[in-house]
Symmetry: C2
Subunit: 118 residues, 2 copies
DNA sequence: CAATATGGTTTCATTTTGATACTAAGGAGC
DNA sequence: GCTCCTTAGTATCAAAATGAAACCATATTG
């Protein structure tokens, strides 16, 4: 197989575009812990809008990374969970958020140095 | 320090937003192999525009992940290279592209299944 | 009878992105 | 000496994505 993300028309490019997204990373990170309902996700991912959360979940579901279950309660309950395929990805996206948290101070320092010299 | 990417105003959120980006991932992946010049990057990252490449490189440089060296040749040579800080990140972003290449078929299958049932 | 909760969709203004053209400086070919 | 090519970008403008807010149906609570 000749898949290569560096070729624009390669389908892997579309997948990378989906995953290399701030909101997708945060959603997958939350679902990795446990299944979560729509509004709970919205509350836990500070700053995400309903529209974007809805769109991200729909795309992740379409890609087979997330499953959606509806329960006929009142009001309706919709629970999102990670799939086995999605589970193979979570350690990678978790590494991204961990890197950000571990190296934020070095990054901020570099930014200040850059801004002073400019 | 209480850094948490799930808080909107946390500086780590800005870093995640920078890294969780298709173009940044592809640029870092190329620079991980060796220093590369501007137009060579543009040629190797199929589909990137000059403007976006320029912006991404500038931000990565500001964050201390990439260094920029200018040589007074004719025409001028500008070489971009990964920094030690950037080097601590490349294995993570490489894992992202590798996941995309390894799991693309499962994703495409999930998409077809989803589209058929809709 | 109004307020709150569920999980969304719709609308519209603002941002971001991408495609294209343009810059300047020098070398190569004719 | 004229034209084209290369370098590494910036400027411009249309198109697409995003974000904030309002709206929807349903049903329970106060």
């Amino acid at each position: 197989m000749e898949y290569d993300v560096y070729i624009q028309t390669c389908p892997t490019r579309l997948v990378l575009d989906r995953l290399a997204d701030k909101w997708a990373v945060l959603v997958l990170g939350k679902l990795d812990e446990q299944p979560v309902r729509f509004n709970q996700l919205k509350r836990e991912i500070d700053g995400i809008s309903q529209k974007v959360l809805s769109q991200v979940l729909k795309k992740l579901e379409r890609d087979g990374l997330v499953s959606r279950s509806v329960y006929a309660t009142v009001p309706v309950t919709v629970e999102y969970a990670i799939t086995p395929l999605g589970r193979t990805l979570t350690s990678t996206v978790a590494a991204l958020t961990r890197w950000a948290e571990d190296n934020i101070e070095a990054v901020l320092e570099a930014q200040q140095k850059y801004d002073r010299s400019a």
